[in-house]
């Protein structure tokens, strides 16, 4: 398998407050997704 064709722009500033790189944005989105799954799991346990 070839090396991941990551774009060098991943290390560029996304122009979004707080975030320095696109990798930071992706990590934030992944963390939000994990938080949503946890919240939905708690929701299921609470109401089921």
């Amino acid at each position: 398998m070839s090396k991941l064709p990551r774009d060098s722009s991943d290390n560029e500033a996304p122009g979004v407050p707080i975030f320095r790189t696109w990798r930071g944005v992706y990590l934030f989105v992944a963390a939000c997704f994990a938080a949503m799954v946890i919240a939905l799991t708690v929701f299921t346990r609470f109401y089921a």
Binding site: R6, D7, W22, V25, Y26, V29, A30, F33, F43, T44
Partner: protein, 575 residues
């Protein structure tokens, strides 16, 4: 619907279409026509991506599905945020760097012409049929409940989308989708608020007690359609195929003012898609609670068809079912009140006993609904064309909302059909022009006005095809469900081709071309085996990782056998 509803409906629909047509009437530049205005910002891209994905089926059928089966469908979207991160990091930068109009143009540069044509053909076949379904699905439901003529509803919706999509291309699609999404969100939030006002206290607890609020299921079972695992793994591959390789989505984000705008537009969807879908399925779960407290909850929500049968030759059977339903519904209401009282008493054992009785009453009620549906389908072939759950939300809209808001909610259904269809037509016209017509007329590539004229003609032709298909399928049975499943079968092999293109630079065009055909055969084989032997049927989401993996493995094996790099020149993938 009264005059006020008609005014709101026609005003919003025709007004938005006319505005889009007028603002983009002078679009004659190929780049703007196919990719949209180069100054498009991330907000417009984000809304456009969302509007293209969510068709009327999302807003009309999903609440009904949650009404019947609970909110577990939300897990279908669990792979989406992760897939969008991959699209942002890998797919989008390559598309922008190469300046392609379509995703399949990249395949031509990376592999060869036949692989490009295969990708484009798979897309055109699948999306062309889907464009017909996008019009047909809402039209048959709205025509049934509102008493409109189905053919005229289909033709009106189709022509409206064709006019502004042909005139302004991508620029018109982006512009109109912004306003259409405003109508959709405004309408859905209004319906949700009205529903909340009408609900009794503790509604969420009642929905939970009756098994409608199971959002996440970690059971590791391949046969269950919606679990956390199928959602994350299968949903990831499905979303990666859709957002990364389906031109109707690729076209929405490659034309932004800069790479940043496309990325932020996709990240906007990664963050808000799950909350938005949660809002819609919760609407369905709360509709379920609402109808538990209504004395006249219908046994079958497709009341037009039901009443016809009640007055028909087998009316006695249908009236007997109605009587049985009323008795069971009244009994269930007693059980609900008993459960609420037991819960308020704070006695856990009493609550558990009341809950068991309530669940038993619900099962009896469901069994009667099932029997009624089967009886209706036997008596009327027309009833087989749609699912009864599709009529739940529209029944609520027409019977519980005030005039004006009814018009707004019907406008929501048409706005979502138009926004999704316009995105599809735009992509079909672009792919036909760039990947098919130009492939056979390479000398015409430099003639920009001719390219724009052809793109307009192809867009109009696909629009006409979609209308014709929608008119034709109205004579078939169960076609919507069948085609939705078949559409999901085509994605995995196509995604496999792109995965090989991005990550396996040694593999050439011939290897990946035949591997894609082999992987497609594997997916069709697994699907057919499940249909012939239902005991071994797996959830359709699992076809996505299986088909993609098969394409990658076949490509590597074939490349090893064929030897050498048989594709086109290598395409740079990093700066």
């Amino acid at each position: 619907m009264n005059a006020l509803d008609w005014f709101v409906l026609l005003g919003t629909m025709i007004g938005i279409a006319a505005y889009g047509t007028w603002r983009t009437r002078h679009t004659d530049n190929l780049n703007t026509y196919l990719k949209g205005n180069q100054s498009t910002k991330w907000g417009t891209i984000g809304i456009s991506v969302m509007a293209t994905q969510a068709s009327t089926i999302t807003y009309l059928s999903l609440p009904g599905q949650a009404y019947e089966n609970g909110i577990a469908f939300i897990q279908n979207y669990f792979g989406l945020p992760l897939a969008l991160i991959v699209v942002c990091a890998v797919f989008l930068p390559i598309y922008r760097k190469l300046g392609v109009y379509t995703a399949y143009e990249y395949l031509g540069q990376r592999f060869d012409q036949k692989t490009r044509l295969l990708g484009a053909a798979l897309f055109l076949l699948q999306r062309g049929i889907q464009a017909g379904i996008t019009i047909y699905a809402p039209a048959i439901i709205l025509a049934t409940v509102l008493g409109w003529r189905l053919d005229l509803t289909i033709i009106f919706t189709g022509l409206l989308a064709i006019v502004y999509t042909v005139t302004g291309g991508s620029a018109a699609v982006n512009l109109t989708q912004r306003w259409q999404v405003a109508v959709i969100f405004g309408g859905m939030i209004t319906a949700f608020v009205v529903l909340l006002v009408k609900l009794p206290p503790d509604s969420a607890y009642l929905a939970g007690a009756m098994g409608k609020l199971q959002a996440v299921d970690f059971t590791p079972n391949l046969k269950l359609r919606y679990t956390f695992w199928s959602g994350v793994l299968g949903g990831f591959f499905l979303s990666l195929s859709y957002f990364g390789t389906d031109q109707s989505q690729v076209q929405r984000y490659i034309g932004g003012a800069a790479l940043r705008e496309g990325r932020l537009g996709l990240m906007f969807n990664a963050l808000f898609k799950i909350p938005m879908q949660f809002f819609i399925v919760m609407l369905g779960a709360l509709l379920f609670v609402f109808y538990q407290f209504q004395p006249d909850t219908p046994l079958i929500f497709n009341q037009t068809e039901w009443r016809r049968q009640v007055q028909g030759p087998e009316g006695e059977t249908f009236r007997a079912l109605d009587t049985k339903h009323r008795e069971l519904h009244a009994d269930k209401q007693v059980k609900i009140r008993a459960w609420v009282a037991a819960r308020d008493s704070g006695d856990p054992s009493a609550e558990m006993a009341a809950r068991t009785a309530l669940v038993t009453a619900q099962k009896a009620s469901e069994a009667t609904r099932k029997e009624a549906r089967a009886t209706l389908e036997r008596a009327s072939p027309d009833a087989k064309k749609t699912r009864d759950s599709d009529y739940v939300f529209i029944t609520f809209i027409l019977t519980q909302l005030p005039h004006g808001v009814i018009g707004l909610l019907i406008a929501v259904m048409f706005a979502s059909a138009l926004s999704s269809k316009a995105g599809e037509l735009n992509a079909l016209g672009t792919t036909s022009t760039i990947d098919i017509w130009r492939a056979f007329r390479p000398l015409a590539a430099a003639d920009e006005p001719r390219n724009v004229r052809n793109a307009k003609w192809f867009t109009a032709l696909w629009g006409a095809f979609a209308i014709g298909f929608a008119l034709f399928v109205s004579f078939a049975e169960n076609l919507i469900e069948a085609l939705n499943t078949v559409a999901s079968i085509f994605y995995p092999a196509l995604l496999g081709v792109f995965v090989v293109a991005f990550f396996f630079k040694r593999v050439g065009g011939s290897a990946v071309f035949y591997a894609a055909i082999g992987a497609q055969a594997v997916v069709v084989g697994i699907f057919a085996y499940g249909k012939f032997f239902p005991k071994h049927e797996i959830g359709y989401l699992w076809l996505n990782p299986i088909g993609c993996a098969a394409c990658v493995i076949f490509s590597l094996v074939l490349q090893a056998v064929i030897g050498g790099r048989t594709g086109g020149p290598p395409v740079p993938t990093s700066a």
